[in-house]
């Protein structure tokens, strides 16, 4: 008997059920198909302004920063301002991102490379699929447009987010993902601040392995 058969068989034996019990199968099938929601905290269930305010408040409390811009064309200027403000080199790396690639980076005198991050990448820039107000969380989907290494290897991570994509809860984020119709990507990344550790004497320190800084550019 294979380990698989042995393990599944023992579980059934413990539960005192047989595998082809139609009732159990039906229960499982309908749970998976209807994926019912449980209690969703009220704190995130606000109008768009309220959700944006909550997202910003929580993210800033986690030592991230957030800046609004009026239109997508203003993103390079804002990124330049941010990098200068922190004394960082005016260079960044993006994926094959259909939103970021066409922007006029040259005018902002930003040096932009494309592709996955390596250990020399100082600043990575990605686009968020949406954000979750209740916990101050950015939700990113991996793929050629957002290579996952951009989120974790560079010292600084900049995320471009559309205002109307600030949702109330995790559940709304999952519904939005299901509505895409496409297969799920390898990674769905929830990011709720810069990297941190409290492993030495419970003292919080930013930039453990991942980015030391997280900056969100919110586009109207």
């Amino acid at each position: 008997m294979s380990a698989r058969e042995a393990i599944l068989g023992r579980i059934k034996q413990s539960l005192n059920v047989s595998g082809d019990d139609a009732g159990r199968k039906h229960t499982v099938k309908s749970r998976l198909e209807t994926h019912p929601r449980h209690t969703i905290p009220e704190r995130g269930q606000l109008d768009l302004e309220g959700r944006i305010g909550l997202l910003a408040e929580i993210l800033e409390g986690q030592s991230a920063s957030i800046a609004p811009v009026a239109k997508i064309a203003d993103v390079p200027e804002e990124i330049l301002r941010y990098l200068r403000g922190h004394g960082l080199a005016p260079a960044l790396r993006i994926g094959e991102n259909p939103v970021l690639r066409p922007l006029d980076w040259e005018r902002a005198k930003l040096e932009v490379a494309a592709g996955a991050a390596d250990t020399h990448t100082l600043t990575g820039c990605s686009t968020a699929f949406c954000a979750i107000a209740e916990s101050g969380t950015l939700m990113l989907l991996s793929g050629p447009q957002n290579p996952a290494t951009l989120n974790y290897l560079p010292d600084n991570h900049i995320v471009v987010l559309k205002r109307e994509d600030v949702l109330a809860s995790y559940e709304e984020g999952w519904d939005k993902m299901r509505a895409r119709g496409a297969d799920i990507p390898r990674n769905v990344n929830y990011i709720s601040g810069p990297s941190r550790t409290a492993d030495i004497e419970q003292t919080i320190f930013l930039g453990a392995h991942g980015p030391r800084r997280l900056h969100v550019v919110m586009v109207k």
Partner: protein
């Protein structure tokens, strides 16, 4: 590895005398408890979420075979492989086999209690692989040759001075005069040293907090981002997880995520929560070529439907450890098992056998705090009591204890005799207690009074007062 549980009494004595450990344990009390209380107060729905989380787990366990099969099918659909392992030995061999087939030399690891349970590091190292823990806490204990002392804060027993000493002796190629007295110096040095390991690893191994049957995703939560680097940079990604990690849907996972970090570190959510399925997709610019999941049983398949089923609800948040007066006093290593504290005292005998781990269920004051904070409401004290009963039934009690109990039963069945004997005893004890109302030494009771005082009886017995017509 599961070893050394038998020395619990000796271990506790040493732990209580260890000044550095006692200082470090102060951080548990000050940190985790207050943070959890704050997070709980900030979320009015917290208690409701706990009830729902418990229900999610109960439902899942009752259909565990079906959800595991669905999870497996979804992983395959995404291009990954699922390996089933009956016990630690089989799991170790499967993982070593994957490393060998990949022609691997070096392995990085994200934090995983399952790989601690199966003793993976030593096994892989014996076969010549370089194995590097990347969670900062795990790295600290790895270079010290220790095991984790806490399931979410493995190095909670260490102070920064100890870390400085270890780094100086371990990172020999760095300038000896470098400053290392601040936490920031230490974290930056670990970041620098581990970067190179991340990039050069052939295989990355992570654990999983949840396995989602609906989508075939495994979920990891970290604050450092080390888990993501571990699973994104190498050519091969292996997830090591135990059976009970499976949950039905993304909605179910969402509810559990809401209570996990709040119970653990008091955060609304950990900094990074990552849902992963399969290897890199064809168009992807990064990510592993191969994706494997090793599903570990180790006795768990026998638990659903039985008297220890509730333990399979555990989401490994660590709250029961943080709130346990015994854990707070002696730390995790004294337990001598991979899983310490209340959850470890219930789980270890299930994995290791009650005769090996029989001291653990007795290392409990039955104060009930663990159950009060457990996010999935596991009745830990009741289960510990069950273990004690089993242990008691197995081994003959000491003759002295037996005689004492017999005497007690006889007296309890003869109320007149009972009162005749106890009335003068109460008087004597009250007199001994004097005005302080406390007794500091007692014949035959040295084991108790050596460490603490016995409160002296106040006034007469309940029966005497009842007869006099006193009513509460």
């Amino acid at each position: 590895m599961l070893a050394g549980t038998g020395n619990f009494t000796e271990n506790t004595r040493k732990a209580l005398e260890d000044a550095a450990l006692q200082k470090a344990l102060g951080n548990v009390k000050r940190g985790f408890i207050a943070k959890r209380a704050k997070a709980r107060a900030a979320l009015p729905e917290f208690e409701t979420l706990r009830d729902e989380a418990k229900e999610i787990k109960i439902h899942t366990l009752a259909h565990m075979d079906l959800y595991l099969a669905r999870y497996e099918a979804q992983v395959k659909r995404a291009g990954g492989q699922v390996h089933w392992a009956r016990d630690s030995g089989q799991a170790r061999r499967i993982i070593a086999g994957i490393c060998k087939a990949a022609g691997a030399k070096s392995v990085t690891k994200g934090k995983s209690m399952i790989t601690e349970e199966i003793g993976l590091n030593r096994y892989l190292q014996a076969q010549g692989y370089e194995v590097v823990e990347t969670d900062l806490g795990e790295y600290l204990i790895q270079i010290r040759g220790e095991t984790p002392s806490h399931i979410i804060a493995p190095a909670v027993h260490l102070n920064k001075e100890q870390v400085e000493t270890d780094f100086r002796s371990h990172h020999k190629n760095l300038p000896p005069e470098r400053p290392l007295s601040k936490v920031s110096d230490l974290v930056n040095e670990a970041r620098q040293v581990l970067r190179e390991k991340f990039v050069n690893a052939d295989v990355g191994i992570t654990g999983a907090n949840f396995l989602i049957a609906e989508t075939g995703q495994s979920v990891i939560v970290t604050n450092e981002g080390n888990g993501d680097l571990t699973q994104t940079l190498p050519r091969v990604h292996i997830v090591a997880a135990s059976l009970e990690k499976v949950v039905p849907t993304l909605e179910d996972a969402s509810t559990l995520i809401r209570i996990l970090a709040r119970s653990a570190t008091g955060q609304d959510i950990s900094t990074y929560t990552t849902f992963t399925s399969g290897p890199k997709r064809e168009q992807d610019l990064d990510g592993p070529e191969e994706f494997h999941v090793v599903l570990l049983d180790n006795g768990r398949s026998g638990l659903p439907g039985g008297e220890f089923e509730d333990m399979l609800r555990c989401i490994r948040c660590g709250a029961c450890l943080n709130h346990c007066p015994v854990y707070q006093s002696v730390g995790g290593h004294a337990y001598g098992s991979v899983y310490p504290g209340p959850m470890g005292s219930v789980l270890t005998p299930l994995l290791q056998g009650v005769s090996e781990a029989r001291h653990l269920p007795h290392a409990c004051t039955l104060c009930g705090r663990c159950e009060a904070v457990c996010p999935v409401r596991i009745p830990l004290p009741a289960m510990l009591r069950r273990w004690r009963m089993r242990d008691f039934a197995k081994k003959p009690p000491l003759a002295k204890a037996k005689l004492g109990l017999k005497l007690w039963v006889f007296l309890a069945r003869h109320p007149a005799l009972y009162r005749l004997i106890t009335t003068p005893v109460i008087k004597i004890l009250a007199l001994t207690g004097g005005r302080k109302g406390r007794i500091c030494a007692l014949p035959f009771g040295g084991a108790w009074t050596d460490q603490r005082d016995l409160p002296a009886p106040q006034g007469t017995s309940f029966m005497a007062r009842w007869r006099k017509g006193e009513r509460p």
